[in-house]
Symmetry: C2
Subunit: 247 residues, 2 copies
Amino acid sequence: MVVHNIRMVLEYDGSNYHGWQRQKNALAVQQVVEETLEKLYKRKIRVIAAGRTDRGVHAKGQSINFKVQDNPIPVNRLPLAVNSLLPSDIAAVHAEEKPLDFHARYDVKSKVYSYKILNRKYPSPLLRNYSWHVNQPLDIEKIKAAMKYFLGEHDFASFQASGNCVKNTVRTIQDLYLEKHGDILIFRIKGNGFLYNMVRIIIGTLVEIGLEKMPPHSIPRIIQAKDRNLAGPTAPPKGLCLEHVEY
Amino acid sequence: MVVHNIRMVLEYDGSNYHGWQRQKNALAVQQVVEETLEKLYKRKIRVIAAGRTDRGVHAKGQSINFKVQDNPIPVNRLPLAVNSLLPSDIAAVHAEEKPLDFHARYDVKSKVYSYKILNRKYPSPLLRNYSWHVNQPLDIEKIKAAMKYFLGEHDFASFQASGNCVKNTVRTIQDLYLEKHGDILIFRIKGNGFLYNMVRIIIGTLVEIGLEKMPPHSIPRIIQAKDRNLAGPTAPPKGLCLEHVEY
């Protein structure tokens, strides 16, 4: 009996799912992926994902692993086989075999998320599920001035959804940058790990700064306070996308 | 009694509509827009559009006009008022008052369409409604070499859906260019007018050239032949977007 540990990269449109993680009364991406793999392999499959994306959050590079015995499907043909069974809003875009001790969540070195904001007066039907529509003008220079304070290792307790009790709230943000394409802002943030809702609270806070509701230099004070109430609101999930996972 | 002629620019996600033009047994964008304006103005409204986009085709800049008597809504507040009644996949993004003889279709000087191709092995759930997935490698240099033959005034009879009997099939393409962003190709084409399915047949032909099924220099021969059978297939509607209309 040979056991294979398969890593697979998934892209999905999270609009119609209640997030990654299996739920009792709502459809999650994990359930669809596991049921698809079970159809393919004709046995029970449990999948581990790098990040548990929330309801409405998208992924271009969700990374998962699962183990199968006596795997009859060559790994290079696996994405096509899986995609032929998946609905069109989920797709496998890569598969490879890994050592048996590889774990898609525990072994993560860094994750990259993007966050898209549409900054114009009127909403965009084409981006309605993939961006946060901010209809007041944003001061980009102030946002950029605030962004630099997030870089590096900090205790991000102020940027964690309240009610969460993770013991260690220290994380390192390795990269945070902003591209502007006309009225579309795309943030990219890379870190060794993220607290629950951390990216969305950082974005919500940066938007408060762009709206001049707080100055850029308030960020160090908010970080130091370790108080969720001082940071900005949680940005909506639909602008968020798990881009890439590194091991 | 004062009559106002209002021009409005619409963005829409065409995925869930049977094109722009009103249909008897299927929902078209025109019907939704007219019904919305009728709710707003509490009278019958007929709308004229610059281009009749097909089923599944999108618009960022569809241009329409309609006439209302004794219009009580200031034109600068009109988009917000209309958007509060429209479904989220259609939005007004601009409105202005025009002279009474302005006609959204007859007065068009040029239209700009974009066409998006995803050129990679596996499909993209996030782009599934907004791009054509071409899973074989495309030779971009060959496509670019072919593109230049379309520029200028030509008889585009070979690039018109068969069964159409427009008398004058001469059109001018003012611009045609291609941007590449990773595995995404975005064509932009500007012309004084387009025959039925013309953009989609041009794109389908360029893809045949990119797949090396015909050489770039076959384009002049195809144009000269005035025979739809010599051109490539009609590219699917979902990659097409009416970007902008000029008057």
